[in-house]
Symmetry: none
Subunit: 193 residues, 2 copies
């Protein structure tokens, strides 16, 4: 990706190994564009995009994905991302998206546009995500096999707070076992199986 973007005259000023790193880099460097993978450890691309908008409002985010499932795309749009590119399409599209974002525009792969249109047409099929961003973040870490003790320092909050989120997640979902929560997370694309 660095090769492709640099060949087009863009300057790549940072690379991140996971969602948290991506947010941290954006906070430090305030880049014009942040290209995110939808599936990243610790923090997924969508929630990372939301976080980036908070810490660096001028940074435009572009999300790369292999999945063209609707709920991913809609969640991304809600997070205010400026581009959504399918990995299965040519690199030209990524460049196009970055160029558009740099100009202040937006770009979405055809599959994404289609999914958004379909969702718009029959919005009855728009299941509102019952979880808040923070709850979803905790959910992801639980599903990534992190213990409550490990999650607390990762998010910079107390163990008790994490327990509160655990409880609320289970209450909202009507699931009362870790196993069920993990499967929910997988079914909803919060983490990879």
């Amino acid at each position: 990706m660095r090769v492709i973007l640099e060949r087009e005259g863009f300057k790549v000023i940072a690379e991140a190994a996971n969602g948290r790193e991506a947010v941290e880099w954006c906070e430090k460097l305030h880049p014009d564009i942040a290209v995110l993978d939808l599936s990243m450890p610790l923090l997924n691309g969508i929630d990372a995009a939301r976080e980036i908008r908070r810490v660096s409002a001028d940074t435009k985010t572009i999300i790369l994905t292999m999945h063209n499932e609707r709920h991913f795309i809609l969640a991304g749009l809600r997070a205010g991302t400026r581009g959504f590119v399918m990995k299965t399409r040519s690199a030209v599209e990524l460049v196009h998206a970055v160029r558009e974002a740099a100009r202040g525009g937006a770009f979405f792969s055809p599959e994404v546009t289609q999914a958004a249109v379909e969702a718009y047409q029959n919005k009855s099929e728009l299941p509102e995500d019952p979880l808040t961003p923070r709850e979803r973040q905790v959910l992801q870490l639980i599903a990534e096999s992190k213990t409550t003790k490990e999650i607390a320092p990762l998010l910079g909050i107390s163990v008790k707070t994490v327990e509160t989120y655990r409880s609320r997640i289970m209450e909202k979902l009507g699931i009362h076992q870790t196993a069920g929560v993990v499967r929910y997370a997988i079914r909803h694309g919060v983490v990879e199986p």
Copy 2:
């Protein structure tokens, strides 16, 4: 990726949008190398690698991943893949891996090697199916959100016995959290997500 590989003199004869397509291309074209994403729709990289070995035994597989978790890596090794490259590392490593595979060798990112070494230290081998039938049965029930107390009467054995199986499953898999066990079960088709 096409840019990088062609710049190095490799010929890219096909591109696939998902795991199933990747397998189909391999069956048709019998390429020397197949570069797979661990996270692909329809069929993940590991199971795709296993399938490719079945339909095109001479094709060497290389898996790209963002996750350095042990169970992914071990599953990949069991699937007979010749390379395992972290996406977070430079493109040089991918080229290196492809070159090694083409020569008949193998290449793994340092994180991968480390995880494999740790696994070897814990148990002397990487068996095809490490779990006994009874263990797999317990695994399934765990992944179906059953508690130990519920599992015992379901199998007609004591709670303590179920606990023994739980421990052994975790020991064998090198996973020590319910969440990880559930994901293992899902990845291995023991339960539906």
